[in-house]
C-alpha cells in the first residue's frame, strides 16, 4: 500500500513536471522571440534585441528585401531612413567584429531565403584583414544556428527566454510603439563626451613606421573576393557600400601601429575591385567629415559615434550626396589623410590631449 503511494507520487511528479516543461516549450515555440522556428505571428513584431541569438532566425524565417550588414558602428544606423528612401524592408545583420566572411555568410543566407533588392554594407576596412572562413557564423549561438534539433532544448527551456525575452517581445509588440529601425542601436542610450571618448583609450607610446601598403594583402584579396563573388552572383541586387565613421583616436591607433596608409590603400583597392560592377555603389558616409571625426563630444568611446553622427552616414546614401567615383574617393581619402596627419603633428607638438577640449570640440 505504502509502495503504491510513493509510486504514485513519483509518477505524478514526472507527469506534472513534464506537463510544465511541455507548456514552457510550447510557449517558446509559439512566441519564438529568436525567430528560430517562424517569423512573428499573432500580431507580434520583429523585436530585435540580441543579435547573436536572432540574426540567423531573422534571415531564415522573416520577410525582408534589404539588409544592413556591418559591425557595431553600423548597428546604430536607423534603417527607417533607408526604408523611406528606397521603399524597402531592411533587417540588420550585425556581427561583432564584422568579420567579412561572417557578413558574407549572412548575405548569402539572405539571398537563399528572400529576393534581396538592396544590401547596405558598412565596410569596416579592418574587417577586410580578418580570417576568411566560408562556414563562418561564429557570431551566432551554436544551438540556434546548427541543424541539431536536440540542442534546441537550450532554447526551449531557458529561463532568460521565458522570463525576459518573451515578456519583452510581447510588451514591445502589444503595448509600445516599437521602432524596428532602432534595432540593436545602443547609441541612443550612450553618453557622449570627450571624457568618455578618452576614458578607455590607451595609445601605444611608440609610433611605428608606416607598413608597406601591401602588408597582409593576401587576407585583403581573399575577403574582397568573397564580396565580389556575392556581387557577381546576384546582379539583381544593388550593393551600397559605405565607409563607417571613426574618431580621430581610432585613426590615431592605426597611425601609431603603422597601419594608416595601408588602410587608406585598402579603401582604394576595394573600390577598384567592387566599384566596376553595375550593381555596386560606394558612398563616403561621413568618414572624413571634420566634425564627425575630430569632435570627440560626438563619441561615447574611441570607436562609437553618437546617434546623430550615425544617421549622417545613412543620409549620405539616401541623398546621394556621398556617392563616390574613383576620382572623388581619392580626394576624400586625401582629406582624411591630411586631417589625421595634422592631428598627429599637433599631438606630437603639444604632447597632450588638451587641444581636443578646446579647438577640436567646438
Amino acid at each position: 500500500m505504502e509502495e503504491k503511494i510513493y509510486k504514485n507520487f513519483f509518477k505524478k511528479f514526472i507527469i506534472l513536471s513534464g506537463t510544465f516543461l511541455i507548456i514552457i516549450a510550447a510557449l517558446v515555440i509559439i512566441i519564438d522571440p529568436f525567430f528560430h522556428y517562424h517569423g512573428p505571428i499573432l500580431g507580434l513584431k520583429r523585436i530585435q534585441t540580441m543579435k547573436e541569438y536572432q540574426v540567423n532566425g531573422i534571415l531564415l524565417n522573416t520577410e525582408y528585401n534589404a539588409i544592413l550588414a556591418g559591425s557595431s558602428v553600423t548597428a546604430n544606423i536607423n534603417t527607417d531612413i533607408l526604408n523611406e528612401r528606397f521603399g524597402c524592408n531592411t533587417v540588420k545583420t550585425i556581427a561583432s567584429g564584422a568579420y567579412t566572411s561572417t557578413l558574407w555568410y549572412y548575405i548569402e543566407k539572405a539571398h537563399n531565403n528572400q529576393e534581396l533588392d538592396y544590401v547596405f554594407y558598412g565596410l569596416d576596412i579592418f574587417a577586410l584583414y580578418s580570417e576568411v572562413n566560408r562556414d563562418s557564423m561564429q557570431d551566432q549561438v551554436l544551438y540556434l544556428r546548427d541543424n541539431n534539433p536536440i540542442n534546441d532544448i537550450y532554447y526551449l527551456w531557458n529561463i532568460d527566454v521565458l522570463l525576459k525575452h518573451i515578456p519583452y517581445m510581447m510588451a514591445e509588440s502589444y503595448f509600445h510603439e516599437y521602432d524596428e529601425g532602432m534595432a540593436y542601436n545602443f547609441s541612443q542610450y550612450a553618453t557622449c563626451g570627450i571624457d568618455y571618448a578618452l576614458s578607455n583609450y590607451k595609445p601605444e607610446g611608440e609610433i611605428h613606421p608606416m607598413n608597406d601598403i601591401t602588408n597582409n594583402s593576401e587576407l585583403l584579396y581573399a575577403n574582397v573576393e568573397l564580396l565580389e563573388e556575392s556581387i557577381r552572383e546576384h546582379p539583381e541586387t544593388e550593393y551600397k557600400f559605405f565607409f563607417p565613421v571613426y574618431s580621430c583616436l581610432w585613426w590615431d591607433r592605426l597611425y601609431r601601429a603603422g597601419e594608416f596608409e595601408q588602410y587608406l590603400w585598402a579603401m582604394e583597392y576595394v573600390y577598384d575591385v567592387l566599384g566596376k560592377y553595375d550593381n555596386v555603389e560606394f558612398y563616403k558616409g561621413v568618414f572624413n567629415d571634420w566634425d564627425s571625426v575630430m569632435n570627440l563630444n560626438n563619441y561615447s568611446d574611441h570607436t562609437h559615434a553618437s546617434y546623430d553622427v550615425n544617421q549622417l552616414q545613412a543620409y549620405s546614401i539616401t541623398t546621394g550626396e556621398g556617392l563616390l567615383d574613383k576620382e572623388r574617393l581619392l580626394v576624400e581619402i586625401d582629406i582624411l589623410r591630411t586631417m589625421i596627419y595634422d592631428f598627429e603633428d599637433r599631438l606630437m607638438r603639444d604632447g597632450n590631449w588638451d587641444f581636443l577640449f578646446s579647438e577640436y570640440a567646438q
Binding site: K4, F10, L16, L162, L163, P167
Partner: protein
C-alpha cells in the same frame, strides 16, 4: 558530466536507473554492477576522454597493489613488512599521481620563487575530482595494509571508486560503506519510497545549486573581480554572498549525490550537516565536509598519535591535518593559510575545551563569532592569491563608502527581475536601483533562512509526500531545469 545538466537528468540517470534495476531484476547482478561502472566512466570522461585513461590507470594500479598484498598474505602467512612496503608503494603511487596533476606547477613556481630559478611550468589540466578518488583509494590501501579490507572483485572495486554520485565532489567514501551495499541482494529491487524520497532530495539539491548558489555567484564573482571599485559595504556583501554560495553549491551537490544514491537503494554518507549552525570552529568541521575530516582523522591524525601523546603533540597533529586539508583544497597558499587559520582555532579549542554554555546570549555570541570567522576565512578561499585576499580584507576594514553596492546589485541582473523592473521603471524610474537592492536582500535572506533549516536529507525522510510537496517540488524542479541553460560547475569538483 554535471548533475546539473540536461544530458545527466534526462538521459544519463534514467538510463542508469533502468539498467541497474532491469539487470538486477533478471538476477544479472554482476552485469548490473559492470553496467554502472561503464556508465560512471562515461560520466567521468564525458568532457575529456583523457580522464578515462587517468582514472582507469589509477584504479588498475591500486587494484594491482591490493592483489599483490593478497598474494603476499597467502604466501607468507601475512608477512607484515612486505605488506607494508607494498602498501606504501601503492600510496606513493597515488600521491605521485595527485602531485603531478594538482601540485606540480605549484611546487615548481615556489621553487622558482625561492631559488630564483626558471624551471618551466607545464600545461596540466586538473582532472575533475582527482583528490576525491585518490583519497578514497589511499584509504582503501591503508585498510588493506592493516588488514581491515579484503581484496574485492575488480568490478566491486571499480564500482566503489567510480560510482558516479560521489565521484567528482565526494563524499570520500570507505569501501566498507559502499561495497556491501552494492552486493546486498535486499537492495536490488526497486523501492518506490526510496525512488520518491531520493528524487525529492535530488530536486532540493538541484534547486540549491542552480537557483541559489549560481545567483549568489554573480554577486560574489563581481566583488572578487572588481575589488578596487568596492567600498566596505560592497566588500562585505560580496564576502557574505560567497559564504552562502559555497554553502549552497556544496550542500546542493551533496544532496543531489545522496538523492541519486537513494533512488538506487544506495545510502551515500552524510557529508554536510548544517555547518553554519556551528557554535565553534571545531563543530564546524564536524558538520562541513564530514568525510574529509574523518579521512584525515583516521589516516593522519590518529597514526600521528592523535591526542594520546600530550597537548603539544595534539596541537601539532591538528595543525598537520588542517595544513593538509588546506592543501587538499587547492594548490595555492591561500588554501593553505585558510586551512592553517581553521587549524589554529580548532587546536586552541581542543586544548581548552570549555563546558557547553547554557545561556542563550553566550550561545548566540559563540555562533556569531564562529560564523564571522568562517566568513572572513572564506575570503582566502575565494581569492586567487594572498595579495588579492589582503586587498579584499583592506576594503572591508577601510570603512569607506562610494556607493559600490549599486554596482554589486546590478551585477545580479537576474531574468527573474526583468518583468518587475520593467513595471517599476514605468511607475517610477528612481525605484529601479532600490529594486535591485531589495532583490539582493531577499536572496541573502532566503539563503540565511535556509541555512538554519535542517538538511534536505533529514527533512525528506520525515516529510509527508502529499499534494503540497508535489506541487512545490515540481515547480522548483521546473524552475531549476529552465535555469540549466547557463550551466556552471560545482566549486568542489575543482578540488
Amino acid at each position: 558530466m554535471l548533475f546539473n545538466s540536461f544530458i545527466f537528468i534526462f538521459i544519463f540517470y534514467p538510463v542508469v536507473l533502468i539498467g541497474w534495476f532491469g539487470l538486477n531484476n533478471i538476477k544479472k547482478y554482476t552485469l548490473a554492477k559492470l553496467f554502472v561502472v561503464l556508465m560512471s566512466l562515461w560520466f567521468y570522461s564525458y568532457t575529456n576522454y583523457w580522464y578515462l585513461i587517468l582514472i582507469l590507470s589509477s584504479m588498475i594500479g591500486n587494484y594491482a597493489i591490493s592483489y599483490l598484498i593478497q598474494t603476499i598474505k597467502s604466501k607468507n602467512n601475512g608477512s607484515d613488512p612486505l605488506i607494508k612496503l607494498t602498501g606504501a608503494v601503492g600510496i606513493i603511487f597515488n600521491l605521485a599521481l595527485l602531485f603531478y596533476f594538482k601540485y606540480y606547477n605549484f611546487f615548481i613556481s615556489n621553487i622558482n620563487a625561492i631559488f630564483k630559478t626558471d624551471y618551466f611550468l607545464r600545461n596540466i589540466t586538473l582532472p575533475l575530482g582527482i583528490s576525491f578518488f585518490t583519497f578514497q583509494q589511499i584509504g582503501f590501501l591503508a585498510d588493506r595494509m592493516r588488514g581491515k579490507a579484503e581484496h574485492y572483485s575488480i568490478i566491486d572495486y571499480m564500482l566503489f571508486v567510480s560510482y558516479f554520485p560521489q565521484l567528482v565532489a565526494g563524499p570520500i567514501v570507505k569501501h566498507g560503506d559502499m561495497i556491501p551495499q552494492f552486493n546486498d541482494l535486499s537492495l536490488k529491487k526497486i523501492n518506490w519510497e526510496n525512488v520518491a524520497r531520493g528524487m525529492v532530495i535530488f530536486t532540493v539539491g538541484l534547486s540549491k545549486k542552480v537557483l541559489i548558489a549560481d545567483n549568489l555567484a554573480l554577486i560574489a564573482n563581481y566583488c572578487f573581480s572588481n575589488i578596487n571599485d568596492l567600498d566596505s559595504l560592497g566588500a562585505i556583501v560580496g564576502m557574505i554572498s560567497y559564504t552562502f554560495q559555497i554553502f549552497f553549491d556544496f550542500s546542493g551537490y551533496c544532496d543531489m549525490a545522496m538523492g541519486l544514491g537513494k533512488m538506487m537503494n544506495i545510502k551515500i554518507l552524510v557529508n554536510f550537516d548544517s555547518p553554519y549552525k556551528s557554535r565553534s570552529v571545531k563543530e564546524f568541521w564536524r558538520r562541513w565536509h564530514i568525510t574529509l575530516n574523518k579521512f584525515f582523522t583516521e589516516y593522519v591524525y590518529i597514526p600521528l598519535g592523535g591526542n594520546r601523546k600530550g597537548k603539544i603533540r595534539a596541537f601539532i597533529n591538528v595543525m598537520v591535518i588542517f595544513f593538509l586539508s588546506g592543501l587538499w583544497h587547492g594548490a595555492n597558499w591561500t588554501f593553505v593559510i585558510w586551512g592553517v587559520c581553521h587549524g589554529i582555532c580548532v587546536a586552541i579549542q581542543s586544548l581548552y575545551d570549555a563546558k557547553e554554555a547554557k545561556s542563550k546570549v553566550i550561545l548566540f555570541c559563540k555562533w556569531l563569532v564562529t560564523f564571522l570567522f568562517v566568513n572572513f576565512a572564506w575570503v582566502l578561499f575565494a581569492s586567487n592569491n594572498i595579495k588579492t585576499a589582503l586587498e579584499y580584507y583592506k576594503k572591508i576594514f577601510s570603512l569607506s563608502w562610494n556607493g559600490s553596492i549599486m554596482s554589486v546589485a546590478y551585477s545580479t541582473d537576474s531574468s527573474i527581475l526583468h518583468v518587475p523592473l520593467s513595471l517599476i521603471k514605468r511607475i517610477n524610474g528612481d525605484l529601479v536601483s532600490a529594486t535591485y537592492i531589495v532583490y539582493i536582500c531577499i536572496l541573502l535572506g532566503i539563503a540565511a533562512f535556509l541555512c538554519t533549516k535542517e538538511s534536505a536529507y533529514s527533512w525528506s525522510e520525515k516529510t509527508k509526500l502529499g499534494t503540497g510537496s508535489l506541487m512545490g517540488l515540481s515547480i522548483i524542479f521546473v524552475l531549476s531545469i529552465i535555469s540549466l541553460s547557463n550551466v556552471s560547475p560545482f566549486l568542489y569538483s575543482n578540488f
